[in-house]
């Protein structure tokens, strides 16, 4: 296996959890809800995903458990912000704190246990192709799903009526409400979807990336996912570009260090953040007015009048 091929495979693995979580959050924010609890939902997904896989021996069931855990936690968030009209920022932060603590409790019994990592696709001829074989046809299910997810979200947002309604709710909940759309119901579905995606992104870590569970193993990836959504200016294509760019620079800086290039490692560690922010800001500027801006109702609590 060539070095470049190995690097690309590492990059895809490093980017996938970010992409999964960020894609879900993008839909949530497009519906006008700001859920800062991504980190909490991811780590819950990691704990429950690992537990599910360890108990059943199936990566698929583990992934479903991760999705369910993310959904369950996001339901708490929905009950607070949609049901009780609580401030979304405060509720989201509380969700992260809750998730980190609760996942440690749930996962405590599984620390030190081992599972079989997620199986990788194997197609007789295709996977054996030089260079592109393993990259295109030798990944695990999470990777293919994350790509399909982003394409699906793009199609949903821009090519379906339901997606148009969701964007309308995010841009002006009062207008959407006046037109008779069930704003809170739509937002509830979006929040649940985002929770499921974050849970799956978290579950990817113990099921495929590093096949064991340790409390706090998401190590801030939920926050990076949140930042990616903002810098992608809420557009799925840019989100994918941002996630892969972040993953690429993260892996490249490790390789650069191993080559002994002599660049200060503190700068190298900051590089993924810098590069991603700069590139996405430049894309947004170049597109000018065509670039999407924040959903106008983002983070604003909606209480339907009677």
């Amino acid at each position: 296996m060539g070095l470049l091929e190995a690097i690309i495979i590492s990059v895809i693995a490093a980017s996938t959890p970010l992409l999964l979580a960020a894609a879900g959050e993008l839909v949530v924010e497009r519906s006008g809800v700001l859920n800062l609890g991504t980190e909490g939902m991811m780590i819950m997904g990691a704990a429950c995903g690992f537990a599910g896989c360890w108990l059943t021996g199936s990566t698929f069931i583990g992934a479903l458990c991760g999705i369910a855990a993310g959904c369950a936690l996001s339901l708490v968030f929905a009950a607070l912000t949609l049901g009780l009209a609580v401030n979304q920022v405060a509720a989201g932060l509380a969700l992260t704190i809750l998730g980190v603590g609760l996942s440690g409790l749930i996962g405590a019994g599984f620390v030190g246990e081992k599972i079989t990592p997620a199986p990788h696709l194997y197609l007789p001829v295709l996977t054996g192709l030089p260079f592109i074989g393993k990259i295109l046809f030798g990944q695990d299910g999470f990777v293919y799903f994350s790509v399909a997810l982003v394409i699906g979200i793009w199609w949903f947002l821009y090519r379906t009526r339901a997606g148009l309604v969701l964007r309308a709710v995010g841009d002006s909940h009062t207008s959407a409400h006046a037109l008779g759309y069930p704003v809170l119901k739509i937002r509830l579905l979006a929040v649940l979807f985002g929770g499921g995606c974050a849970g799956l992104g978290g579950a990817f870590l113990p099921l495929a990336y590093t096949p064991f569970f340790i409390p706090g193993m998401t190590a801030g990836r939920g926050w990076i996912a949140l930042a990616l959504v903002v810098f992608s200016s809420w557009m799925p294509g840019r989100l994918a570009a941002g996630a892969y760019l972040f993953g690429a620079v993260t892996i490249m800086q490790l390789h650069a260090q191993a080559f002994g290039l002599g660049i200060p490692s503190q700068l190298m560690t900051a590089l993924p953040y810098l590069a991603t922010v700069i590139v996405l800001v430049l894309i947004s500027r170049a597109r000018g007015s065509a670039g999407s801006v924040a959903p106008a109702s983002l983070g604003i609590v909606f209480v339907p009048d009677r």
Binding site: L3, A6, I7, S10, A14, P17, V76, L80, L84, V86, N87, A90, A91, A94, L95, I97, L98, V100, G101, L102, G104, L105, G107, A108, V111, G112, K114, L205, Y209, T210, P211, F212, I214, P215, G216, M217, A219, G220, R221, T250, I251, L254, H255, Q257, A258, F259, G260, G262, P264, S265, Q266, M268, T269
Partner: protein, 359 residues
């Protein structure tokens, strides 16, 4: 509702363990500040085992509390002060980055005894303790020099502090005794604990031809990557053989229990003094896990090296120690570098192919 939820969340985050009995009048209250979660299987986990060993030894004479996931730096001051204010008379702060905050709180509470791990700043009521982990690293180097077929070792480093740099130096000095042309690639991940990133660093090293990986980070992620790639690795902090039954050569095991028991006993007797404790293989603060997955001659060599270090006939930093430029480093300890030079080490020795970050 929101308030209630926040309270629940904070309670869930700060898991506080206390003794069983409610009356604590004549008990010594001891507090611990932990860097990671107690289940990290690495650095924090070993301190937690040490605490448990102490509680087992001293029973109801002590009552302990720990705060986990406390970030290093100025932020930790609040947590240390929280323990100081809640009646803890002996407080262990268990990571290098708590040094200045611990000193600050120690000055504010002169009657409380503080013990800071791996630091170099002390006060009348603040002692330090650390393990001579570089002794274990030297043995790992000796083994790695023999075991590496590519002649290139990989080192996943956390932060450029003296302890980590001394570990890198001891490794290469050990490796040079068995393979004079050994190469060492260093990757700084700038974190103590991020399993994903540790795994990525291990993959990058493996992709670049490294066939023995050592780490100064806390999770078993690198061990697992090495197992997947069919190369060798050393465990860190605790015995990680479970994550690499065919991969782990040995591991440095941090054994804090005896020290915690000793310090708590001294505090109970009133004989506690702020001291600088630095124990190694001989005092069993540093232990080596079983030597596995290596030929008998390498195993014998490793055991011999360990015995010599324990006997004091071998010192990893025996003079002359050559700096990166090939010139001998000033030898303050006579035959060996003195403790101050090792504890404050900020230079690489000859053979390390890296630049210390920020230098």
């Amino acid at each position: 509702m929101k308030k209630l939820m926040m309270t629940a969340a904070v309670a869930a985050l700060t898991i506080v363990s206390t003794g069983f009995s409610a009356s604590a009048a004549d008990k010594l209250k001891i507090g611990f500040i932990y860097l990671g979660p107690v289940g990290d299987l690495g650095w924090t986990y070993m301190h937690e085992l040490g605490r448990q060993m102490m509680v087992k030894e001293l029973g109801d004479k002590v009552e302990t509390t720990y705060l986990e996931n406390v970030s290093e730096g100025p932020d930790s001051e609040r947590s240390i002060e929280q323990l100081a204010r809640t009646g803890h008379q002996l407080i262990f702060t268990t990571s290098f980055g708590y040094m200045d905050p611990t000193l600050k709180v120690a000055k504010k509470y002169p009657k409380i005894k503080f013990e800071h791990a791996t630091g170099f700043k002390r006060a009348d009521n603040m002692g330090t303790y650390s393990g001579k982990f570089h002794e274990g690293r030297y043995i790992q180097g000796v083994i790695a020099g023999k075991m590496s077929k590519t002649g290139t070792l990989g080192y996943i480093a956390s932060f450029p502090i003296p302890e980590v740099i001394a570990g890198i130096n001891a490794t290469i000095l050990g490796a040079q005794t068995t393979n004079p042309n050994i190469k060492l690639k260093v990757i700084w991940v700038n974190t103590w604990f991020d399993p994903g990133k540790e795994a990525d660093a291990a993959k990058a090293l493996a992709d670049q031809g490294v066939d023995v990986i050592m780490q100064h980070t806390d999770s078993p992620a690198a061990m697992q990557v090495a197992a997947q790639r069919g190369i060798m690795a050393f465990g860190q902090d605790s015995d990680m053989i479970k994550f690499g039954p065919k991969t782990q050569l040995t591991a440095i095991v941090n054994n804090w229990g005896p020290y915690y028991t000793r310090a708590a006993k001294a505090a109970l007797d009133g004989t506690w003094k702020a001291e600088d404790t630095w124990d190694g293989l001989k005092e069993k603060m540093v232990l080596m896990a079983a030597y596995t997955n290596m030929p008998d001659d390498v195993k014998a060599l490793a055991e011999k090296t360990e015995a010599e270090i324990i006997a004091g006939t071998l010192n990893p930093f025996k003079c002359p120690v050559l700096g990166q430029d090939g010139k001998p480093v000033e030898c303050k300890g006579g035959a060996n570098l003195d403790n101050g030079q090792i504890l404050g080490m900020n230079f690489y020795v000859k053979g390390v192919d890296d630049k210390i970050p920020g230098k």
